[in-house]
Amino acid sequence: MPTAHEVLFRTLADPTRRALFERLCREGEQTVGALTARAGVSQPAVSKHLGVLKQAGLVRDRHEGRQTHYSAQLGALAPMIDWTSQMAGFWQSRFDHLEDLLKRMDQ
């Protein structure tokens, strides 16, 4: 099963999808129509991308009449931030091992 940060990185690896998420972060809640107008791809494509973002927990949808409004869920990025602290911990311990090795090595 893919880990949370793996899902996030894969979801945001697509430039069109990342641009949609970025716009929702920057400009707040928007309808599918408003997003499509500036996305450079068709509305079905935008809806599909939004579906993938929703599945990853990065956006939330809200229905109002015939319109669907989408907003960014910044809290969903937490595993991505966790990933960097995990990697920092990983490298710190590797540095410790490296120093131990250097002590043992001949000049």
Partner: protein, 136 residues
């Protein structure tokens, strides 16, 4: 908050090491030595060489990008669905070496490819940084 977003882009670990760059370089580039502090591997200090780092939890796919003996070494690092680049920089000091490791969450060639209308990871994180700063 800005700091957190910056860290999302890359991981930096730096340390003063009381040994000369030449010695550290050997530990960073000789497979039997790399194995002792990092992971089992088939590394060669040759640009474009592809290698794996293997541990009990899985493998990391890598490719050498730059080699400047005793000064700098960088390779791609693909694991957990993220392509990143690990860059080692060795700077001699009066007491040994300042060793710096930076792992960036994107590849420079991807950065270039994404610098079109859609924007790339670096810009994404820069924008995110601004958004997070505003929320704070």
């Amino acid at each position: 908050m800005t700091n957190t977003a910056t860290e999302t882009r890359s991981v930096v670990v730096e340390r003063e090491i009381p040994y000369p760059p030449e010695k550290i370089w050997r530990a960073l580039t000789q497979p039997h030595l790399i194995e002792e502090w990092l992971m089992n591997n088939d590394f060669k200090p040759v640009v474009d060489h592809r290698f794996n780092l293997r541990a009990d939890w899985g493998a990391v796919d890598c490719q050498v990008m730059a080699v400047e003996p005793t000064k700098t070494l960088s390779y791609t690092w693909a694991a957990y669905g993220l392509e990143s680049v690990v860059t080692w920089t060795l700077t001699p000091t009066s007491t040994g070496t300042h060793l710096r490791m930076e792992q960036s969450g994107f590849r420079p060639d991807q950065q270039q490819a994404y610098q079109g209308a859609k924007g790339g990871w670096p810009r994404f994180f820069a924008n995110l940084e601004q958004v997070l700063a505003r929320i704070d």
